[in-house]
Amino acid sequence: MTATTTTVAAVKEGRRIRLGDLAPFIALAVIIVLGALINQNFVSSANLLNVATRSAFIAIIAVGATFVIASGGLDLSVGSMMAFVTGIMIMTMNALAPALGDWAILAGAGTALIVGMLCGLFNGVIVTVGRIEPFIVTLGTMGIFRAFITFMTDGGSLPIDRSLREAYRPVYFGDFLGIPYPILITLAVVLLGAFLLYRTKYGRRLTSAGSNADVARFSGVNVGGMRTSAYVIQGFCVAVAAICYVPRLGAATPTTGQLWELQVITAVVIGGTLLRGGKGRVWGSVAGALILEIIANVMVLSDLVSEYLVAAVQGAIIIIAMLAHRFTSSR
């Protein structure tokens, strides 16, 4: 269901539709068909909604990563940042719960957004003002954020106050007209992201900064500012993901968001965004996130592969999808 809505929207948004641009959505459709053939439980609405809902975290963060990568940057810290923002948010909510009651959730969410954007700003400023490779900067902050969450949890887990649990749970488990909230939140973030990247002057400047920094600079684009802002957008998206994440298990642990950065980057690249910058595909990134989650889901639902080889098959499918992408777009 989600697959069809994304495809339709992608067709609308592109003026010149090329086969290459559709590749991620074709891959998504193929994997859904394969999944349905392998196990009919796959197409049950409960399963499809579960899969779409839980891919929301990676999808939302991937929208931000699309901005960062399109602007010529890279962010390896998103998984750790998510865990850190989650930790700060839970501590804020727990501290305010006695005074504000359920309103503490809103206060916590607001704090999360501010902290997330500040974390992104920190990454961005060091990359642009400090003139250090984004890979190194965000590798450093990845370690810093991970250490912070480990410190905040004492290596254990940091649960939200029991009094807030019931009020907050629906943000992940609830639905509106049958569509779970995380999916609606993802849609809102994607629509906003697509509008910003494709329909505004800002989006064009951002992409030009990633495509050729010198040319962009000569044509009056503030390349450093554009790149920094992309990291702030990334931080915002990480915080939105954190807001959806907390109600699910109600706790932050040192393993929260571990290795998510790799899933996010994989989703963005599968979606057709160039890793070297200059081109961003917001809807493609969402398709990429769905593809990753569905592959994992189908692996469990099928009895084809030994549990020891699941990761190998996932890796192979991603490579095949990328090869198919290359093949279709070069025609």
């Binding site: 298990l249 639902l301 699941v310």
Partner: protein
């Protein structure tokens, strides 16, 4: 000890003196903290190691308060390489009477620990054995086979020896293999069928996702075993969300405090757990201290059993202040 005020220090010293004197340790008492016991453990990067750090620090306080001649030095390391370096630093700068070590990996730490031993240090190895067992004077460990086997026996009794279950396993390691082996060997003797077994890497989120998939795949599941309590919390969320009533038991293992709380409250779905307690580091430090404080001989191997944690005995395994 360092943080205590003078009065309490004197009182405690007097108490410790009174306790120690009958043992005839006059000579050792003449000097101040001349027995150094180094404790080398992994840094708190997940729940279980967080518990290890907590219990090691508790043991440090308690032992130093009880025995005025013993100085416990706790050192945490974030990787095998870092642990080797910290061993070198610890043993180069001072004379260590004993080393209590929970090695990151067996292979990499065997040589460095042997180096420390060659200087006459008493070696206590905890949890993960070294490649050459001759190096250790004392070995303290939990029983991973029993964690799996005891859970399987209980489950088999409850299900009447038949039914269909799913299993979540951790990170591919010896610990995980032993738990799974202990569990599946017992299950193999019954008519219980293991429908599926997959890795969820001892991670709550991955366990939640995997359990959702199990629930989609199998319309009827009698019980689920996650071989670690961290994962069990994710499993329970997924089962609750799906509103599935067919799952009679959702069991874990390790003795995480949230799960012990459920056992204490008499939860119908999670009525038991099995311990693989991080407090084993504390047992090891106490036993090592016994070698020096009371001259109680402590050489040998000590395997902590993994008895079922039930509402009756849960208090013994419950540490409300520990992060795990």
């Amino acid at each position: 000890m360092r943080m205590m005020n003078e009065t309490s220090r004197m009182v405690l010293s007097a108490v410790a003196l009174a306790c120690a004197l009958p043992l005839g340790l006059g000579e050792a008492l003449a000097q101040e903290r001349d027995v150094k016991i180094a404790v080398s453990i992994p840094a708190a990067t997940h729940g279980w190691t967080g518990g290890v750090v907590y219990h090691a620090e508790q043991a440090e306080k308690e032992i130093e308060a009880a025995f005025p001649n013993i100085d416990v030095i706790v050192s945490t390391a974030s990787s095998a390489t870092a642990q080797v370096s910290s061993l070198e630093d610890l043993s180069a700068t001072q004379k260590l009477a004993a080393l209590v070590i929970l090695p990151f990996t067996s292979e990499e730490l065997t040589g460095p620990v042997e180096q420390v031993k060659s200087k006459g240090t008493f070696i206590t190895v905890v949890d993960r054995g070294l490649t050459d067992p001759a190096i250790q004077d004392l070995y303290v460990a939990g029983d991973n086979i029993a964690v799996g086997a005891n859970t399987a026996r209980w489950l088999s009794d409850q299900l009447g020896g038949k039914g269909e279950i799913v299993v979540l396993r951790g990170i591919p390691t010896v610990i995980d293999d032993e738990r799974i082996k202990g569990f599946s060997d017992v299950i193999a003797e019954t008519d219980i069928k293991i429908l599926d077994i997959q890795y969820a890497n001892w991670n709550q989120d991955e366990a939640f996702t995997l359990m959702q998939d199990y629930l989609a795949k199998y319309p009827k599941i009698d019980a689920v075993w996650a071989n670690d309590d961290d994962m069990l919390l994710g499993v329970i969320e997924a089962v609750d969300q799906a509103g599935r009533e067919d799952i009679r038991f959702a069991l874990g293992g390790n003795g995480m405090k949230q799960v012990i709380e459920m056992v204490k409250e008499g939860d119908a779905r999670t009525p038991i757990s099995t311990p693989y307690p991080p407090s084993m580091i504390k047992s090891a430090i106490y036993m090592t201290a016994g070698q020096f404080a009371g001259q109680a001989p402590m050489r040998g191997s000590f395997k902590l059993d993994a008895p079922l944690i039930t509402p009756e005995n849960a208090d013994q395994f419950y540490f409300p202040d520990s992060p795990f």
